[in-house]
């Protein structure tokens, strides 16, 4: 193990530069760990190397050498290291550690949750795709499983098991695959059993300006015919028209409506990975601004274009879901390679169409189906191994945000809560579990990922109580059938997700969580139901006993505990922010007395130390995920009467 330890390092607070924690910095083979000196808390901040997206060494100042670490889960850590040399060493080490070159260096190969082999195997079996296609009603009269790709012989980025129309022979499939980028031929993503309409996916055709492929045309016809109720097929190209046209010059492009019988071709302009990467970058710059004005923030958000892109993805998903559910028309979706935008759009459409994907289990299945199995390039997109920075792009982050935007519009429709989405995002980058390793199923099998690592889904499933949406009810109207988001006007429906992009700045979030409150209520309700039953039985037996004039003394006096939500204390101590911008303007003085320097009053929060565990980034060492729970420690049902608690969060009044 590489092990570095540096003392007297300061961890700066992003919001208030005057708040800093003194502590020790450790570098292990897998984590950067900062432990505060303050004896009563010893607060720890853990950062996995795989989460690090950039490290910046800034100019040395009198107080030390600042090091800025930006993480893929949107945590930003500012350290000040006393010695320039230590700082340099750490910088160099981190650069190396954050960019592993071999999969074996990733955390999942050393992470050991102390499960036995059987448990691990069961974990991997939690999500079973062939069972999922069965659930959809496949195979049936129109669709079948094909073994044409059993040795990844046709397409190395596709799974071995692909579902295709029954009438599509191996000849047609192979022929079609030769006419598609990276041989990603049209295959089934989702089948809507109510009306036989389906969503299929592929890459772009190699049509150039005039090329044709009979087998590809037959393939599309087979897809259309697998939906006998409809006489045409939508082909949705999720790229902007200009991009698609430019591809023609490279011998790629899009389907010519004249060559394919009965297709309706449609562009839905979603920008490419490079635009998305830079959009996120711009938005994160806005999130990082120190005390921005409202205009800075809104202008920056608009300028990043991020929400516009989210809306474009949603619009595409909504279009497809509508075509399938309302028009009963099948849809073939593609972009260029069919592994980014296509994955986003297919999964958004599936989520809208099928309530199963809005359950916790179903959501896991959806990610396995549309992203993992169909060769979304997790390694390239999320930079797990050192690679081309131009391949990195927040493709699945955008999908996860689409789900959150839908959760905001349909609060009862999802079985899981925001925390679940945040943790899934975290683990896509953490490399703590094997699910998202590599770029394809083929690579994962070669690496024997399932034998050597653990599955995230089992880990999340085990803790599912933390991830439940208390408003979800399987018999609620929002959990039935298709979700129909409002279409126009709807710009205002898409909102900035501070829970994700300012995830680690707890001070910015609502200080009381409705979700946690309702979860506690539900938990208590369950206890009450149990107790009610016990009490009922006791009462019945006691009455019977009394009736028989047979007096038995009750042994269960101890049952008389106080009713109350012992696990949950909603009231919390919080602290004021800096409501007066910067020291310079405070206090303002009348111009007549401008020179009375010594009389400056300074409102500081220097020895602000929170007693609230929520304010700290408490690391769950096992998972590397900070504890998002909003529950304060039990105070035995009685609320603290004052918030001051002098020792803790007092703002200091340095008078005169």
């Amino acid at each position: 193990y590489l092990f570095v330890q540096v003392e007297n390092v300061r961890l700066l607070d992003r919001v208030s530069s005057r708040k800093a924690a003194l502590g020790t910095l450790y570098l292990t083979a897998t984590h950067v760990i900062f432990v505060e000196n303050a004896s009563e808390t010893r607060k720890e901040t853990w950062v996995l190397h795989s989460q690090i997206s950039s490290i910046e060494k800034q100019a040395t100042t009198a107080t030390g050498c600042p090091l800025l670490i930006r993480c893929k889960n949107f945590q930003v850590i500012q350290l000040v290291i006393p010695q320039e040399r230590d700082c340099h060493d750490i910088y160099i080490s981190l650069i190396r550690l954050a960019r592993p070159v071999k999969y074996e260096e990733l955390y999942c190969f050393s992470f050991n949750p102390k499960l036995d082999k059987e448990e691990r195997e069961r974990g991997w079996k939690l999500v079973d795709l062939s069972a999922e296609y069965n659930r959809m009603g496949i195979p049936n009269n129109y669709w079948q499983i094909s073994d044409v790709n059993r040795d990844y012989g046709v397409c190395d980025s596709y799974p071995t098991e692909v579902y295709v129309p029954k009438s599509a022979t191996a000849h047609i499939i192979v022929g079609s695959s030769k006419f598609r980028s990276r041989r990603r031929f049209p295959a089934l993503s989702y089948y809507y059993k109510d009306n036989n309409a389906s969503i299929c996916r592929s890459s772009q055709p190699l049509s150039g300006f005039s090329a044709r492929c009979l087998e590809d045309e037959q393939m599309l016809q087979a897809i259309r015919k697998a939906n006998p109720g409809s006489d045409f097929l939508y082909v949705v190209d999720t790229r902007p028209k200009l991009n698609a046209m430019a591809n023609r010059a490279a011998g790629k492009g899009y389907e010519n409506e004249d060559n394919y019988s009965n297709i309706k071709f449609q562009f839905i302009g979603i920008e490419n990975i490079h635009v998305m990467r830079s959009s996120l970058q711009k938005m994160l710059e806005v999130c990082e601004l120190k005390s921005p004005s409202m205009s800075d923030f809104l202008w920056g958000l608009e300028n990043s274009g991020w929400l516009k892109h989210i809306k474009a993805i949603m619009d595409a998903g909504i279009f497809i879901a509508k075509a399938v559910a309302e028009e009963g028309v099948s849809v073939l979706v593609h972009c260029s390679d069919g592994w980014d935008r296509t994955a986003q759009v297919c999964s958004v459409a599936s989520l809208l169409l099928d309530p199963y994907y809005r359950t916790m289990k179903g959501f896991m299945v959806l990610i396995e189906k549309d992203w993992v199995s169909f060769g979304h390039k997790f390694n390239h997109r999320y930079g797990n191994l050192d690679g081309d920075p131009k391949e990195i792009s927040p493709v699945i982050d955008q999908f996860i945000e689409c789900v959150w935007q839908l959760m905001e519009q349909f609060p009862c429709a999802f079985e899981f809560n925001e925390r679940f989405l945040i943790h899934v995002q975290h683990h896509i980058y953490s490399c703590q579990f094997g699910n998202f390793l590599c770029n394809s199923q083929k690579e994962r099998r070669e690496l024997k990922v399932q034998e050597r690592t653990y599955s995230l889904w089992a880990h999340l499933w085990k803790n599912c109580a933390d991830y439940l949406n208390p408003l979800y009810r399987s018999d609620h109207s929002q959990t039935q059938g298709t979700l129909r988001p409002q279409i126009a006007p709807c710009n205002f429906l898409y909102k900035f997700w501070s829970g994700m992009y300012n995830r680690f700045e707890k001070g910015l979030h609502p200080r009381q969580s409705v979700t946690d409150y309702l979860m506690a209520v539900k938990e208590e309700t369950q206890q009450l139901e149990e107790e009610l039953e016990v009490l009922g039985e006791r009462l019945a037996s006691l009455q019977k006993v009394q009736l028989n004039d047979n007096k038995v003394k009750s042994k269960q006096q101890d049952q008389h505990k106080e009713l109350g939500r012992s696990t949950f204390n909603i009231s919390l101590a919080n602290t004021p922010q800096e409501y007066n911008n910067g020291l310079k303007s405070f206090p303002s003085r009348s111009p007549s007395q401008g020179d009375e320097e010594d009389s400056a009053l300074i409102l500081t929060q220097d020895n602000l130390k929170s007693s609230d565990p929520d304010l700290s980034v408490n690391s769950d060492q096992e998972s590397g995920v900070e504890d998002l729970s909003c529950r304060s420690p039990s105070v035995g049902g009685c609320l603290p009467s004052e918030d001051s608690g002098k020792d803790s969060d007092e703002a200091v009044f340095l008078a005169v």
Binding site: L298, L301, A488, S498, L528, Q559, P587, F653
Partner: protein
Amino acid sequence: MEFAELIKTPRVDNVVLHRPFYPAVEGTLCLTGHHLILSSRRQDDAEELWLLHSNIDSIEKRFVGSLGTIIIKCKDLRIIQLDIPGMEECLNIASSIEALSTLDSVTLMYPFFYRPMFEVVEDGWRSFLPEQEFELLSSLTDEWRLSCINKEFSVCPSYPAVVIVPKSIDDEALRKVALFRHGSRFPVLSYYHKKNGMVMMRSSQPLTGTNGRRCKEDEKLINATLRAGKRGYIIDTRSLNVAQQARAKGGGFEQEAHYPQWRRIHKSIERFNILQESLIKLVEACNDQSHNMDRWLSKLEASNWLTHIKEILTAACLAAQCIDREGASVLVHGTEGTDSTLQVTSLAQIILDPRCRTIRGFESLVVREWLQAGHPFQQRCAQSAYSNSKQKWEAPVFLLFLDCVWQILRQFPCSFEFNEHFLIMLFEHAYASQFGTFLGNNESERSKLKLQQKTMSLWSWVNRPQELNKYKNPLFEANSLVIWPSVAPQSLQLWEGVFLRWNRSSKFLDEAYEEMVTLIEYNKQLKAKVNALRRQLAELETDDRMQENP
């Protein structure tokens, strides 16, 4: 004047009403002195629209052939469309609505005609009296007194008849201070922080003028609120620049030379037409039907509405911080002391005082810090976002306050006894109401209008249990702490309940709210059952023991 003279056509058949998210309804349109009523002829589910004329902000008319269309834009921001067959009918209806919605005389307003159909349990006009407030204060401190100096509204026309002032300052001194303050609004007590005995006072600007006039009594008055050796803060809700410019017009600010124990902080909060224009732009952005995401954000930004929210909240938080964290007393004023001053003093109390987060306490706050404190509701709320008459005195000052409360409520969803609907209800009634509560510009005007005798108080209606239930927050758990909201842009959001209320379907959000209520209600029922069973068991067991050990 007879309303009948203004109603040229009292009734038109076959009128079609269009509203977003509802199917069109055909029915009969009737105009009365105060209402526009549309009732569908279908008996099964007779759909009706009752719209107060005073709620109408502006109307537009259009014609296609002989079919006329009137678009009615309301002060509560809703827009409805009426298709009226017949050009003459349409013109008549339009001009009648125009006349009826812009009546000059207050005494012609609906509250003077409204006859309540409910039993008045508690007269809202007597629910929140300054004397009661003073009684509460007296139990905590004896440093203050109730002064009747303004009994006939003769000293300060915009103050209530009685005010709370430092005990050591007599009425004679108050008279002198009144002459030194804009509109005679001398410093009075706004809030007493019982945790540390610090206070918040409010006033208008001092009339120092360019030659730095001073007033010994004024200095003495505000110093009387300081403990020995303590300092206080003066929060001026204008930028230093604006405050300096005010001197040229006879106004000004407290010179530190004359108020050495006070530190002045300038926090700029916008006023009047700037706020009104902001509201107009915001509502325009919300009603924009285009699909362009960028346009929405830049319009939202350009409206500056959220900037105002941030400024107001920041100033209020600062005032609260000075009182609670710095242990200092605070005096808040801007120019007149009737707008931004009240936003700051009332929001600071919501942050500091758990009582203000209850329904009753919030009502009391609105009465104390807005109605009695002389916020000119009639002027400010005369028109809303669709008005074309751009009068200088119209401004959504109260709406901004309610929006700020909503922002805090959103950040502390379990700390308020009331819910969002309560705030929306107050917004509606401030602009158009059957109740007299928000009529007039100050207590003096209300007294002359004899509102107490001639109109019903909003509080008489709201505070009945059946009505109150609608406004109770199911998540409420009394939180005795000071609540410090975040004022970062990421933490402030558009108040959809008001601004998108008519532009988006709230069906799914309403369902979620109901689900939440159901969860909590069921929990409460179970608790009651379990407690009852426990008691029953305990009794049985005691009986047992008594029989065992006689």
